[in-house]
Amino acid sequence: MQLRKLIDSPCGLRFMIDNLCTHSGYSRKLLLESSMMHDRLSIEKSYEVMRKFYHVVDNEDNKNKIQTLQFKLCKLKDINHTLSRLATSVILDDIELFEVKNLALLSADVKLILEELNLNEIIVITSLEDVVKILDPDGLRIATFYIYDSYSERLASLRKKLKSKDFYQETIYNEVAALEDEIRNELSKRLKPYSDSMIVAMNALADVDLNLAKSLQMKEMGLCFPTLSSEDKSSYKGIFHPEVKNILEKENKEYQKVDIDFGLKPLIIMGANMGGKTIVLKTLALCQYLLQFGFGVPADSAEMMIYDEVFCLTTDDQSINKGLSSFAAEMKNIDAVIKSSDCVLALIDEPARTTNPTEGTALVSALVKMLQDRAMSLIIVTHYNIKTYNNKCLRVKGLIDGKMNYELVETHEGEVPHEALNIAESLGIDSRWIELAKKEMEEGR
């Protein structure tokens, strides 16, 4: 699955991508077109590269060099079109030759900086010195281009003639133009063998840009390098949702990080409203995507499993209402989880919430029973008093002295907290309504 298709997932992936400070549009394009990694080796390899970059970025002494590198990377342009034309023996025009020359000079510049930062063996930039030689016959190493006089003596002398008069000399210019065309043809032929290595170099430059941006984001947001767990277990310490944290910090509020562990058995989260349960689900989905696209993970530490697919079914998923009733849409989404292959992470927020509690409870209990033996990680948030079949249950600590504690603690079947009325009260809702509800509760007992 391409990142482009996942970016608007309700878990908040877009915030992370939008806040990634890439310096070239081409790197961003490559990132969006990249596919989710599923094998251990490629994920480990990508973090290995990023660790080296992070190490460099984390060192204050490298600040100036990093800035120079970023400045250089701004010049990286997508010239795939030009290069594919070159490969098919088309004669390049001045603008295309200019682009090629710029790429060649840029890769030489970046290569040099990477050497200074000891990163040259981490990402190897193909040398394009031969290309530079072809397009910079005078050895000026300036990123501008024209059909230089030194390509042809005849051209030089004709230009001299043109310059001698202060008006337009049609016949001489026509000869110059013909000569320039010949030279362009010659140059294109000489450049053709390098078209592949130029694409490789361009992608390597984008790779440098992305690794740099990801490392800087890690530093800025306080993300961690995840480790891949060797057993079927995921374990997070101090997990947080960067977007929500950012919003809270703007309001001078503190974000309470939480710890959570799960494996291939269903995990049920119960607890008070406003207890941050949905955010936990979203954060878990986000972390999983970030891992499998090689980003830093928003936690103090994270030991993670790899999945084939992530399902994040939250209550604010916009796609839920596309022409279907909310119940029908939700049932279909959950059905997709049931029909999926194993090795998925399924995060389901309040399943069957829109129907009556009796049937809803039955549906959710049955879901847990049916999926508990499958090799998938199922995490369900619910307010229903469901049967848990001895699966692990967590609850949010909830209101303590009028203050919400978002910590997740272990609990047992049948201990669904009844805090809705207290919380509603603390929100300043009309007290007559709450009092009446309390009476109803007492009569019901």
Partner: protein, 319 residues
């Protein structure tokens, strides 16, 4: 800047370019929209091409860069987009001809000019385009040459009157230092200053609407209009007694959309219209021929116009 198509902008542009001391000054040229075509896209009349001498910096679209008739060094491909590709910056190495198609918006042009600063340009010349008067705004350019001619009006008297009015607007008096300081950063709304120097927001959405809230103002001294100044608004203001001795301030002359009649009725000894920014009008050029075949008496036109606007008027083809 031309008052109409075919008033001789390009001719004037070439005339100026031909005479610049390129050895001493670095010159950059561009245009707003397409310019320098060999034949006019609309009327199919012969048009002069832009001629560049050696060593001129220019901005044009990728498409027109490739059809240039001169040798040039490609310095940069900018991120400024046009329908003909990105704007590229080049420097002519031999004399020759080129089509100029610069950024297509005033903001784009400003960005381009800022971008050109790194080449230490002394003078930038922009070939204005039809109905792109806003470009001549002092926000972009320091001074301007106005091109007018038979294409604008076929009757010498009307042509002189219409041109003279534009010149009058360009030459509107600068407002006081104090007002400039007060209004320079105000970009929305209509504001009034009363006798006691207190500022009132008149809560006008645009000067196209004439509902102005004058509560609490006994007598208005200065009225600042941030957007366009229209006939309807000015006539409304004129009829309200509290504005009897008011100075209307606008950002620059390109914001004024008034007919000569409205302007003349409004401005009397006590009322006036002034500007925050003023551009310098260097000269006026005339093209006595129009695309539909009318040829005016060049000498008479130059003399009458020159008398009316008290500025030198040139017919470049004749001289």
């Amino acid at each position: 800047m031309g008052l109409e198509k075919n008033t001789g902008k390009t001719e004037c542009f070439n005339y100026v370019m031909q005479r610049l001391p390129l050895a001493e000054k670095r010159v950059a040229v561009s245009s707003i929209g397409i310019d320098g075509e060999t034949t006019d896209q609309v009327t199919r009349t012969a048009k002069p091409e832009i001629f560049l001498r050696e060593g001129v910096y220019f901005g044009t679209s990728e498409k027109h860069y490739l059809t240039k008739r001169l040798s040039a060094e490609l310095l940069e491909i900018t991120n400024e987009n046009t329908s003909l590709g990105n704007i590229v910056i080049g420097k002519s190495l031999t004399p020759g001809k080129i089509l100029l198609s610069g950024p297509s918006s005033t903001n784009g042009l400003r960005r381009w000019m800022d971008d050109m600063k790194k080449y230490n340009i002394d003078l930038t010349i922009i070939d204005g385009a039809l109905s792109r008067m806003s470009l001549a705004s002092p926000a972009v350019s320091e001074s301007m040459i106005l091109a007018t001619g038979a294409a604008y009006s076929a009757n010498i008297n009307t042509l002189v009157q219409k041109t003279a009015f534009v010149v009058q607007m360009i030459n509107l008096e600068l407002t006081s230092q104090e007002n400039r300081h007060l209004f320079n950063d105000v970009t929305i709304g209509v504001w009034a200053v009363d006798e006691d120097d207190s500022l009132h927001d008149l809560k006008v959405a645009s000067s196209l609407s004439v509902n102005i809230n004058t509560d609490g103002i006994k007598k208005c001294r200065t009225l600042y209009v941030s957007g366009a100044l229209t006939d309807g608004f000015v006539n409304h203001v004129r009829q309200n007694k509290i504005f009897n001795e008011t100075e209307i301030v606008v950002r620059d002359f390109t914001k004024i959309f008034l007919t000569p009649m409205t302007y003349n009725t409004f401005v009397n000894g006590r009322r006036k219209i002034t500007v925050l920014q003023k551009s310098k009008l260097i000269a006026v050029c005339v093209n006595p021929t129009s695309p539909n075949g009318i040829v005016l008496d060049s000498e008479k036109l130059c003399n009458t116009l020159s008398e009316a606007i008290k500025l030198p008027v040139y017919d470049l083809k004749r001289n």
